[in-house]
Symmetry: C2
Subunit: 211 residues, 2 copies
DNA sequence: GTGTTTATATAAACGTGTTTATGTTAATGA
DNA sequence: TCATTAACATAAACACGTTTATATAAACAC
C-alpha cells in the first residue's frame, strides 16, 4: 500500500553516475541529482537516508558497470588474450571516463565505501588477472610462482600508465598506450618462454573501443 | 611605510601545506588556515586575493619542497644510482605523504594550477629521469634511443606502484615496493647490457627514509 | 603629533550542500 | 468511502566555505 514510486533507486544512481562521469565525485551532490531528475531532494533523502550511503552504493554501482564491460570483453577469449584485453579496457576507462576511473581505481576507497572490506580500488582488475595467472600457467605449462610476479608487474605498469592517461596530462594517444602495455607484457611472457602468435596482438588491440 | 606584516605569505603556505599533508586538498580552506595561524581570514585574502590563487602557489610550493628532497637525495650520486634513488623517493612520498603525492602527481594539475604550462604532475620526476637517460647512455655507451623507452617504462611502473601505495589499499611494505622497482629497473637495464654491481642496490635502498 | 598607508580584526553577505520538519498527493485496504 | 501509509513537494534550519565591507591598529613620513 502507499503511493507508487516514481523516482527509483536506479534512476537516482544513474543520475549520480552521470554527474560523476561528467564532473567527478565532487559534483555528486543531492541538489544536482534532484535537478537532473526534475524532482525535489526528498525522494533521494528518502531512498538513501544520507549522501554517504548514496556514494557507497554508487561505488558498487560503477564497479558493477565496469565489471560487466570487462567480462563481456573477455568473454570466450583465450587466457592470455583475455589478460591483455583487461588491460586495454582498464586503460580505455582511464582515457574515456577519467572521473570514473579515478573514483574506482585511484581514490581512497575507504572514503567512499568506508572501512568495509572490498575487492575494488586499485586491486580492481587484479582479480581478473589473478584468475588469469592460473589459466595461463596451466595452458603454457609454466609454474605459477614464476608467472605470478610477472603478471603482477604488468598490472602495476598498466595501472601507472592508466593513471598517467587520466586528464591527458601525458598527451599520448590511447592506442599507443595500449600498445605499450601489450609490448611490455609480451616481453615479460617471453622471458618465461611463452610465445605469442602475431595475430593475437591485433585481436587484443581491436578491443580498444570497448568502453 | 605602513604596518609591519605579521602573517607572511610563507606562513600561510606553510599552514596550507600542513592541512594538505594531514587531510588532503579538500581540507585546504581559508578558515582552517586562519585557525591554524590564529588570525582572521583577512590576511589570507589580502595576500592571495582568492583561494584559487593560493592553491596555485601551493602547488609550486609543494613541488619545490619535493624537488629539493629529490635533488639532495640524488646529489653526488652516479647516474644509475641517482635514477633509482629518484624512484625510491617517489614511492616514499606516496607512502608517507599520500595527500601531497596525490596533489602533485595524481590530481589533474589544471584544476589547481589552471591551464598554465607546467612541468609538474605525473611528469613530475620525469625530468629527472630524462636527464638520467643522457647520463646513463653516455656512461655505459648505450644509444639513447634504446635506453629511453626502457627508462620511460620504469618511470611508468614506478608511478603505478606509488599510486597503489597511497592510502595503503595495497598493504605492501614500502621497502618491498622499492625493491620491486629496483629489480624491474635492473632487468630492464640488463636487457641492454648494463650490469650493476651488487652494492649499488644497498646504496639505493638506504635512501628509503629520505622523505 | 598628524596624516597616510598598510596590515589586521570584526562581521556580514552570499552561495552551496545536507538534513529535517511539515504538508500534500496518490495508492491500497477495510 | 474513509483511513492509512508510502512517496513526494515545499521550505526551512544548519553548517561551511568564500568573499567583501567596515573599522581598527600599527608603521612611517612630514
Amino acid at each position: 500500500m502507499g503511493r507508487k514510486t516514481k523516482i527509483t533507486r536506479e534512476m537516482i544512481l544513474d543520475a549520480a553516475y552521470e554527474l560523476l562521469d561528467e564532473s567527478g565525485i565532487g559534483a555528486v551532490a543531492i541538489k544536482p541529482i534532484a535537478a537532473k531528475l526534475g524532482c525535489s531532494t526528498q525522494p533521494i533523502s528518502w531512498q538513501f537516508g544520507s549522501m554517504t550511503e548514496l556514494k557507497k552504493e554508487l561505488f558498487f554501482y560503477a564497479a558493477g558497470k565496469m565489471g560487466a564491460i570487462m567480462s563481456s570483453s573477455m568473454e570466450g577469449k583465450e587466457a592470455v588474450e583475455a589478460f591483455f584485453i583487461s588491460g586495454v579496457v582498464y586503460i580505455s576507462l582511464a582515457c574515456e571516463h577519467p572521473h570514473i576511473f579515478r573514483f574506482l581505481c585511484v581514490d581512497d576507497p575507504t572514503e567512499s565505501v568506508g572501512e568495509e572490506v572490498l575487492e575494488g580500488a586499485s586491486i580492481f582488475n587484479m582479480q581478473f588477472d589473478m584468475e588469469a595467472v592460473g589459466l595461463i600457467a596451466k595452458e603454457y605449462k609454466v609454474p605459477e610462482e614464476k608467472l605470478s610476479p610477472l603478471v603482477r608487474d604488468v598490472v602495476i605498469y598498466t595501472h601507472g600508465l592508466a593513471a598517467m592517461m587520466m586528464y591527458d596530462s601525458f598527451r599520448l594517444p590511447r592506442e599507443t598506450a595500449c600498445m605499450m602495455m601489450y609490448e611490455l607484457g609480451e616481453r615479460m611472457l617471453e622471458s618465461v618462454g611463452i610465445e605469442l602468435p602475431e595475430e593475437r596482438k591485433k585481436a587484443v588491440l581491436e578491443n580498444i573501443n570497448r568502453c
